[in-house]
């Protein structure tokens, strides 16, 4: 039996209202490639953040032993010193610096604060060779592709004498060729330099290809650890572990009353706002009936948010084409204001950065999208505004000291209710809800679902984007599955299951 390099014991981590990790135990042997799999929000990234000191010692309970020593990392710097390097999904490179500068950022080859550039470049070249990066070490990082940037991150980790390398979704943003190269590199580093790896990935087939062990995490708990050669290593087996939970009644009951098609999108195409040649939404067509709740399932980066935002008055993307039909009439939406006027609403994915004005109070947030309703000749009518805010606060059961409380001081669930109030106040007929229950506790989730059901009962067209499959299955009447900017499947509620959706996504990825 090989030496155990990492031993995480009874790790529990709670965020306000949510238990992200519940008594997690993880053992990693020296020299192995250990994969962590699980649904979005299962707790994989949180676990790695605990390990690497992003969540400092003291904010979680449990013990971490690295190379037999107990660790109390207070910051990422501490864990790096011990030989643990984490490469996040969003790369942490400075685009305006050269490859060599980035590799040695915060770890400069310097004497008395003066950088030895000859030495830096020589060492950088050595490391670049190690990771198979063929570029001039003085090239700016912004000028190389994302696949190569990933290699720079790995070279940076190697420069710190890394013993344990953690990669969070390393291939999520890469094309097939780059992904393949990266996986080969990992195998090579593992075999030749004995670097232990933990890899988090949604792409199960990749995991099966390279991992020695696979640990399945679900709802903040370790479900099982599969060993190569001992256990069965197949997609079906792993997906079963990922989603095999019983669905308790976390969703309010509802009898759908579905009418005719109220909202339809045809042949919708959107290009990346930063890259004219990158198609983000690829000829998408879908429809929503009145009183129907339609879900859009998919992994992060599938283009769901981009789809909703581009439909919402072109709030995202460039070179947008396609048709939007509402109630049999074609809509031309030039900006967000047009979209609101035509009865569209978009509840943002991230309420803190794009949904609310946190320094403003509840009342001001609720009226923001429809100030015309509480004003006359552009002069605000305080009474109308207060009345509307009071009514919605009551109706949606927003727990606060009053409508004058700052939204920044509310809990996640109540913040989300304020956002919903704001859009209910805009009197929409088509509502897009992007991750409507992200980061809020189970009780508030139930309340949010109830609100959504009520809106549907009023005959509104509702589109829900969610990365939590149980949620999609629990509340939607019909489900579209998106991957890589395309709609790759459509299922009715009764025929859909988590396994089927996962399979649909995975199969469309392989092609």
């Amino acid at each position: 039996m090989a030496e155990i390099i990492l031993d995480m014991k009874n790790i529990t981590k709670t965020f306000p209202g949510v238990k992200a990790l519940d008594n997690v135990n993880l053992q990693v042997q020296k020299g192995e490639i250990h994969a962590l799999v699980g649904e979005n929000g299962a707790g994989k990234s949180t676990l790695m953040n605990v390990l690497s000191g992003v969540h400092p010692f003291g904010t979680y309970s449990g013990d971490i032993f690295f190379e037999g020593k107990k660790c109390e990392f207070k910051s990422v710097r501490d864990s790096e010193k011990a030989g643990i390097a984490i490469i996040h999904q969003e790369l942490a490179l400075n685009p305006y610096m050269t490859i060599a500068e980035n590799i040695f950022l915060c770890n400069e080859c310097a004497k008395n604060g003066i950088i030895n550039w000859d030495y830096t470049n020589r060492e950088a070249k050595k490391l670049m060779k190690k990771v198979g990066l063929i570029e001039n070490s003085n090239t700016l990082v912004m000028d190389i592709g994302i696949g190569k940037q990933q290699l720079v991150e790995i070279a940076k980790a190697l420069s710190k004498n890394v013993k344990l390398l953690i990669l969070d979704e390393p291939t999520a943003a890469l094309n097939d060729e780059d992904s393949n190269n990266l996986l080969n590199l990992l195998l090579e580093l593992n075999a030749e330099h004995g670097i232990t790896c933990i890899i988090i990935s949604h792409k199960i087939y990749e995991v099966i290809r390279i991992a020695n062990k696979i640990t399945v995490i679900r709802d903040g708990m370790v479900i099982e650890t599969l060993k190569r050669g001992v256990d069965e290593f197949s997609e079906n087996r792993i997906i079963k572990g990922m989603v095999g939970r019983e669905l308790v009644s976390r969703f309010p009951k509802r009898t759908p009353n579905i009418g005719e098609v109220g909202f339809e999108v045809k042949d919708w195409v959107v290009y990346d706002p930063l890259d004219d040649n990158r198609m983000r939404i690829n000829h998408v067509s879908f429809n929503v009936r009145k009183g129907e709740i339609v879900g859009i399932a998919g992994l992060m980066g599938a283009g769901r948010t981009e789809l909703a935002m581009s439909l919402f008055g072109k709030a995202y993307g460039r070179k947008i084409s396609g048709t939007i039909i509402k109630d049999g009439k074609e809509l031309v939406l030039k900006n967000v204001r047009d979209a609101i006027k035509e009865g569209l609403a978009y509840v943002t994915e991230d309420r803190k950065t794009a949904g609310l004005i946190l320094i403003d109070n509840i009342k001001r947030n609720i009226s923001l999208a429809r100030l015309d309703k509480v004003s006359k000749n552009c002069v605000l009518n305080d009474e109308l505004e207060v009345g509307a805010a009071e009514e919605l606060r009551e109706r949606l059961n927003i727990k606060s000291a009053g409508i004058y409380q700052k939204t920044g001081n509310l809990s996640g669930g109540n913040q989300q209710k304020v956002v919903l109030s704001k859009w209910i106040f805009s009197e929409p007929e088509v509502i897009f809800l992007d991750e409507p229950t992200r980061g809020i506790d189970v009780g508030s989730k139930y309340e949010i679902y109830t609100i959504i059901n009520k809106l549907a009962a009023q005959g509104k067209c509702i589109v829900i984007i969610s990365s939590e499959l149980p949620e999609i299955l629990g509340i939607c009447d019909r489900i579209y599955i998106m991957n890589d900017g395309r709609i790759v499947g459509e299922m009715n509620k009764d025929e859909a299951s988590q396994e089927k959706i996962m399979k649909c996504i995975l199969e469309s990825t392989k092609k």
Partner: protein, 389 residues
């Protein structure tokens, strides 16, 4: 009572500023041996700071949109002064027309900057830095480096008081009467608003609180006009300032446009996704700044009695400091017109008080700088404490 405590806590910054102003007044009243609050000095204080007050109102709006500043206001002040000389003296146009044209020049300058900021998305700092250079250049080209005397109307606006229709012995009766009328109007309006609110079933403050506040405001208005009456009477500029403060307070508090400005500064992305045309807001905020800078330019030219090539130097810095002292947040979304006014008065009283005391301008500069830092530090610390709570 709970409610009052709550009210006080939420507005601590606002009240804190007011207390700071009162403290500074008291300190300088003592240090200057009572000269600071003499009627004639109070009048002087207002006249001296009138243009900074006007600029601070516009600057506050710029800062509200996201902590952006306008560095060009000093140059616009100078350019509008020079344009006034061009229109009224060289071209011989009547003074009212030349004032109107001067305001137009400022508005155009503001629109020019607003265009680059809002539609080309160049950072305001850079656009207004360029504006500072451009408008200063135009000013010098017009004046050719010379100082030009201006018509009487400019001086009247900037320095004169309204005529007294009653002959008083050392007391300007008209001013006292105006103060009296204003306070009656204030009481009537407030009472109507309150009864309407009660009628429609809205929460109002307790009766004692309401009456107390009313009495205090009436007292302040009358004391103020009485004080002015003991000097030369009500200056025209006070009327102008009152109108500006009232109009802009109304815009920021009670109109859709005002709400859009706060929303943009509070969270630009959320504002955009709520259907606010953020570019248009930015454009008009800077256009408005140009307009108010022009107004300040006319007042300042009147005060100097002339258009001067060196007019307006450093005004932008005094104005920006006044806004931050007055409670503007460096990241935008927080601040009030009244705050800007209080901040300007804190700066103005320090200037005036230290000048009376005969402190050198170099030391004055150091002290003003320290006060600015302290005011913002107070803001930052109280905010981080509020978060911890």
């Amino acid at each position: 009572m709970e409610k009052h405590k709550d009210l006080l806590r939420h507005n601590i910054r606002q009240y804190g500023m007011l207390f700071a102003l009162i403290a500074i007044v008291l300190i300088f009243q003592i240090l200057t041996g009572g000269i600071l609050l003499r009627p004639i000095n109070v009048t002087r204080l207002i006249l001296q700071n009138s243009y900074i007050l006007i600029l601070a109102v516009g600057m506050m709006l710029c800062i509200l949109t996201g902590g952006h500043i306008d560095l060009s206001v000093g140059s616009i002040v100078a350019m509008v002064g020079a344009s006034s000389a061009l229109f009224s003296v060289r071209m011989g146009l009547p003074a009212p027309l030349s004032i109107f044209l001067g305001l137009l020049v400022g508005l155009l300058a503001g629109m020019w900057q607003g265009f680059w900021i809002a539609f080309v998305k160049i950072p305001p700092f850079i656009v207004t830095l360029a504006g500072m250079l451009i408008f200063n250049g135009i000013n010098n080209i017009i004046l050719n480096g010379q100082t030009v005397l201006l018509p009487k109307l400019y001086i009247t606006i900037a320095s004169d008081s309204i005529p007294d229709f009653f002959s008083g012995n050392g007391l300007h009766y008209t001013t006292v009467i105006i103060g009296f009328i204003c306070s009656i109007l204030y009481v009537i309006v407030k009472c109507i608003i309150r009864t309407n609110k009660i009628k429609n079933g809205f929460d109002v403050n307790s009766k004692q609180w309401f009456l107390g506040k009313l009495a205090l405001v009436v007292l302040i208005i009358n004391l103020f006009t009485y004080w002015l009456a003991r000097a030369n009477g009500l200056p025209y500029i006070v009327i102008l300032l009152t109108v500006i403060i009232a109009v802009y307070s109304f815009i920021t508090n009670k109109t859709v446009a005002g709400r859009h400005i706060y929303a943009l500064g509070g969270n630009a992305k959320a504002a955009e996704l709520s259907g606010i045309n953020t570019r248009r807001v930015m454009f008009w905020v800077y256009a408005n700044m140009g307009f108010l800078a022009a107004l300040a330019g006319i007042v300042f030219a009147g005060r100097l009695n002339s258009a001067s090539p060196t007019a307006g130097q450093g005004f932008e810095l005094d104005t920006i400091a006044a806004c931050f002292i007055g409670g503007a947040s460096a990241t935008g979304g927080v601040g009030t017109i009244i705050g800007a006014i209080i901040g300007s008065f804190i700066m103005g009283i320090m200037n005036n008080g230290m000048s009376i005391m005969g402190i050198s301008t170099f030391w004055q500069s150091i002290i003003k700088g320290l006060v600015t830092i302290l005011a913002v530090a107070f803001d930052v610390i109280s905010k981080s404490k509020a978060k911890a709570r």
